[in-house]
Each structure stands twice: as C-alpha cells, then as structure tokens.
C-alpha cells in the first residue's frame, strides 16, 4: 500500500480500469478477423457485432446489478422472462403498428411481474436467490410455452423496421442501448441507488448498519433485471421476425459471462457498465473470428468456455492480496 501515497497518472488510472481489457481483446479479435478477409468485410463484421451485442448488453445490465448485490445473487430467470415477454408482446401487438407502444408496456409488465415474483420467493420462502429464480424460471418458461404455442406471429412491420434499421452502418438499436448503458453507468456511480447496491455487495451487514435500505435496494435490482429481460424479449421478437420458444436460451450464460468478462467482480460490490459492451462485442467477435477461419460450432463453444474460465482465474489473481 506504499504507492497509495502518490496519485496515479491518468494513463495508469486508465490501465487500472477493469473494463479496458474487454475492449482491447475485442479490438484485437476484430483485427485478426479482418486480416483473414483482407479488410474487405470489416464494416459488416462491426455492424453485425453491434447488432447482436445489443441484446446481450440489455440483459447483461440487469444481471450485473443483481450480481453486484454480493455472493449468491444471480438471476437465472432471464431466459424464461425473455421468452415470455416476447411471446406475450407479439401476440398482443398482432402485427399492428398501432399496438407497438402497448406491446412494449406489456413486455415490461411481464418483466415486472416476474421480478416481483422472484423477490417474493426470496423473501417469503427465505431461499437463496439462485433457487428462487430457478424455480420461478420453470413456471415462467412453461407459461411462455403454453401461451406462445401455435403459429408464429410476425412482429408489427414498424417494430421490425426499427429494430433492424441502421444509420451509417450503425444499428439504431445499438445506439439506443449505448445511451441506455451510459444512463445505467450514471445510476451505478452517481446516484444513491448505485451506492446502495455497491455497499450491499461489499458487506451487507455494514450496509444495513450504515442505514442503507437493504430490502428495497435488493428488490429494485431483481425488478430491474426482470424488466430488462422483458425489454430484450420485446426487441428480440421484433428483430428476429417474431418470438420463438428458444429465443431466451443463450442469454442466461451470456448475461453472466458479460458480467465476468466485463471486469465486474462476481463476489459483488464492484461493477461497471462499460465492460458489458466490451465483453459483448468480444464474445460475438470471437465467434465471428472462429467462423471466418472455418472452425465449427464445437470449437466456438470450447473457446467461449475457456475464455470465461481464464478470465475468472486471472481476476482471482488480482484479489489474492485481500
């Protein structure tokens, strides 16, 4: 702790940002990818990366706030909520442009309902959040399957257009979610709520004794996670031409992976939003790179798993000084 006396230089401060490495890695993978194509499809790769990263970042933000609450806090109901919100919203909108806003509200309401249910289980049954969100995900998934059965309903054309539109090669949705991420970063760093979440994650007992409203803060985090999952389901069904029953599947693992790779501490109390974007781009670009080089799906999965384990082991080295 001797170097704590001298203020670190701006460059060292930047280097100390845990999210920086996700961007460095994403950029490196991007370069390696377009090297293969001789730089021809660089723009397309970037556009695709932003498009697909967008959806995982939305759920990643919610998951991150939950994980920040400390050990044992994780939301396993995200995929089911995505599926339910997507199914309910497309059915209610019934391809009519006039219902777009109603559909959005319904999707968010689905998320809110799941969030309330999740937290209700945690509090009333006094069970760990993992078990609570696990069991509620079973129910939600089933509801989504039962509700969304039958023919696939297309999203309203205007919603499909919006979710796939681009400005100068940049997806409009990605721009919106970058703004959303910026807002959430401010919420995390500069509002009372963000401080409360971070305090609880570091030491829940100390937080209570410092006057932090622990119950309300945790409730809000689980709400947020579920509502963002609802939003993701809504947008995803617009983007991919309707909802499908497996559309949420990959987002459980992805949302947790983003939090870890983005440099947030899985032990809680120390999170950042920018890392989510870096990690999402990185994960998608790795898959693209392996694709470009002709590797099959199996190796892509292997690489993703190895990356997550490598990142968590590397992060543990940093914290051995504890």
């Amino acid at each position: 702790m001797s170097d704590a006396a001298s203020p670190p230089s701006p460059l060292r401060r930047l280097m100390a940002r845990p999210w920086l490495w996700a961007y460095v890695a994403a950029f490196a993978v991007f370069i390696v990818t377009i090297l293969f194509t001789g730089g021809r499809s660089g723009g397309e790769v970037a556009t695709a990366a932003f498009t697909f990263a967008t959806f995982s970042v939305i759920v990643g933000i919610g998951q991150m706030f939950v994980v920040t609450l400390g050990p044992g806090n994780v939301d396993l109901s995200i995929p089911a909520t995505i599926t339910l919100a997507g199914a309910v919203a497309t059915k209610i909108m019934d391809t009519q442009d006039g219902m777009i806003l109603v559909g959005l509200l319904v999707a968010l309401a689905c998320g809110a309902a799941v969030g309330i249910f999740n937290y209700g289980l945690i509090i009333l049954l006094r069970i760990p959040p993992i078990i609570a969100t696990l069991s509620s995900s079973f129910l939600v998934q089933s509801t989504a399957i039962a509700y969304g059965r039958g023919i696939r309903i297309k999203p309203p054309p205007a919603l499909a257009d919006f979710t796939t539109s681009q400005v100068f090669g940049m997806p409009v949705l990605a721009i919106c979610v970058i703004l959303l991420a910026a807002v959430m970063e401010v919420v995390l760093r500069r509002t009372l709520y963000g401080r409360w979440v971070t305090a609880i994650g570091q030491n829940i007992r100390a937080a209570r004794l410092a006057g932090v409203p622990v119950g309300r803060t945790r409730f809000a985090a689980y709400m947020m996670s579920a509502v963002f999952a609802g939003l993701c389901g809504y947008l995803l069904s617009g983007f991919s031409g309707g909802s499908s029953l497996s559309m949420g599947e990959e987002y459980l693992l992805t949302s947790i992976a983003l939090v870890v790779i983005g440099g947030s501490s899985v032990a809680g109390g120390n999170s950042n939003v920018p890392g989510l974007w870096g990690a999402a781009l990185f994960l998608f670009l790795v898959v693209t790179m392996l694709n470009t080089y002709g590797f099959g799906a199996g190796l892509r999965y292997l690489a993703t798993g190895a990356i997550i384990i490598a990142v968590i082991v590397a992060a543990s080295r940093r914290r051995t000084a504890r």
């Binding site: 069991s135 089933s142 099959g296 199996g298 543990s316």
Partner: protein, 339 residues
C-alpha cells in the same frame, strides 16, 4: 420433550417421500392402469439418469458449491458413449467422413476401433472434475462462474465428437437399461441401488462424515487436521463419476447421442437435490432424498399427461412442485422457531 421437539424435523425429513407419495396417489387415482409393471417402466425410465445427475449435483452442493455444467457434461458423456465407447475412434463421424472420402482405409487397426478410447476419455472427464475442485479451492473461485465456463467446454467437446445427433450406444448398456427383471420394474431397482450406494458412500463411510462436515463447518474440519483441498477434489471427482453414470444410462435409453440431450439436467438436478431435503449451504444433504426428488420431478410429467394437461406445462409443474415443497419447508421451519 424430545418427541415433540423432533416432530417438525421428522416432518421435514419425511417431506420428500410424502410429496412423492402424494404424486403417485394422484396418478393412480387418475389412471389406475399406471399401477403396473409396464406403467412404472414407462413413467420412471428417465428417472434413472436424472437421479444419477442429481446425486452428482448433490456431491457439489455438499461442499457449498454449485455445478452449472452437469447438464452439458451428461450430454458429453452420452456423445462419448454413442461413439468412442461403442466403436472406438473409428466410430467418430469425423473418421467416418474421412473413410468415405478415401483419406482413411475402411479397415482400421485395432487401436482405432477399441472401446478403450471411450473408457480413457470418460476417465479424463472425471480427472477434469477433480481438477476443477482443486482450482476452485486454490483460487477461492466462485463455482457458479467456473462451471458456467465448463458448460460451454463440455458442449463444445460434444459437438466436436458428434456434430449432429446420432451414433449408437454400446449394446451392453442398452440391454442393461432395458432389463426386465421379474416382479419389480427395473427403474425401481435401479433407483434403490443408486440411493443405497450413494447413501453408504456419503452417509455411512468414515471419510463421508469428513466430506459432509466440510460443508457444515469447514474451519472445524481444518482445525481437526483434515485437508479441505482433498475434500473438494474428492467431492468434484464423485460428481464427475455420478455424472458419467447419468450420461451412460441416458444414452442406453435413447440409444443415440446428442450434444443437447441433457441441457435441462442442470436445473433439474439442482431442483432434485432441494426437493430431496438438501440444503443449499451447510452440508445438509440426503442421497435417498435426492433420488426421491428426481423421481418426483420425472413423475410430474406423467401426472400432467394423465390430467390431460398439455406437456407444455411439464416444466411449470416441476417449478410449482419445487415452490410448494420449499413453501412447506418454510412453514415447518417457522413452526419450529415458534416452539
């Protein structure tokens, strides 16, 4: 005084068996014909792999960790079982493609057709589990994230081995899983054997006490001179072993392999442990309960079909059972506290 003080605890320990009994009674009431040799065979066949996966998950939960990769690991074992274990390296689709294109000769040397390759790979799987336990202990890592990463790894390996569903389970596993013993249906015998074996291993051996103690009070175990590293390694290796049995029994039932065959086992196995009276932390687990929990979850599907409720609600019913049992448990605890 002891008798009345024990009754909530007794109730709690009976809860898994009571929920299974309630479900069975409901099923027989709806469909009396289910109460037959064939009926039990049909309803409980899939309970065998789920029970084994649940035991695997229980080993990890005993030492206060969680395995989110058990589902893909079971799928991986099934893929290995349908290829390497039945026809050696020669049974891999990749090798077959090379043979078809003429790169490799049609007659492979003995070394490439022996099932020993499969045995070797399965043994390596258990070693990987043991190493995970060591890694998690050494670096004090959150098991959720490490096993999450491993779930991708197992899935990737499965897809490499078996890019599309296929292969064939070795004949001996198939015949074992389709045994028709007299009087008692095979799934019931298998479940009893699994439960008794796991019970003896974890609950009755002298080292089993240390393993469980490490979940209850790790500091006390360390103070008494035991190695917590060895405990973690042992429990993860056991999880790998039971997970392997789950994969093999599953491929014996389905006869062919598929990388995605057991994705839901991760969540089902956690639910099974909890349903069986296990606690999430503190080393309080019950192997017999875990097998009962797995059977309950499997029967939930049959129950719905007898109720003529579409199978869409099968997962929902499993979730509902889990919530109801947890709620009952909370009520019992509450009653206990008020005494």
């Amino acid at each position: 005084m002891t008798g009345s003080a024990l009754s909530p605890r007794l109730l709690r320990s009976l809860l898994p068996a009571l929920s299974l009994a309630a479900l069975l009674i409901a099923i027989f009431w709806l469909q009396p014909r289910a109460m037959s040799y064939v009926g039990f065979n049909l309803m409980l066949n899939l309970a065998i792999p789920i029970a084994l996966a649940t035991i695997a998950q229980m080993c990890v939960i005993t030492v206060n960790d969680l395995d989110l990769s058990i589902g893909t690991y079971v799928g991986f074992v099934a893929c290995v079982g349908a290829t390497l274990l039945s026809g050696g390296v020669g049974a891999l689709p990749l090798v077959k493609d090379l043979q078809a294109s003429g790169t490799l000769p049609t007659d492979l040397p003995w070394l490439l057709t022996t099932p020993l390759a499969g045995i070797l790979v399965l043994a390596l799987g258990i070693v990987v589990y043991a190493l995970l336990g060591a890694l998690i202990y050494w670096r004090d890592l959150p098991s959720i994230v490490v096993t999450l990463g491993m779930s991708f790894v197992w899935l990737g390996l499965s897809v490499v081995i078996l890019p599309v569903p296929g292969g064939a389970a070795p004949g001996w596993i198939r015949s074992l899983m389709t045994l028709k013993p007299p009087f008692i249906p095979f799934p019931i015998i298998a479940a009893a054997v699994i439960a008794i074996f796991a019970h003896i291993l974890i609950m009755r051996t002298s080292y089993g006490a240390v393993l469980r103690g490490a979940g209850g009070n790790p500091r006390a175990i360390e103070r008494a001179g035991w190695s917590l590293l060895k405990v973690k390694v042992a429990m993860f290796a056991l999880a790998g072993f039971f997970g392997m049995l789950a994969g093999l029994s599953l491929v014996g039932l389905t006869t062919s392999g598929d990388a995605n065959i057991a994705l839901r086992y991760t969540l089902l196995s956690i639910a099974g442990v909890i349903l069986g009276g296990g606690e999430f932390v503190g080393g309080r687990i019950s192997p017999v309960g875990a097998v009962i929990g797995a059977a309950t979850l499997t029967l939930a599907g049959s129950f719905l079909s007898f109720l003529r409720i579409p199978p869409d609600w099968q997962i929902g019913a499993q979730g509902a059972i889990l919530i109801i049992v947890l709620a009952l448990r909370a009520l019992i605890d509450h009653a206990e506290k008020r005494r």
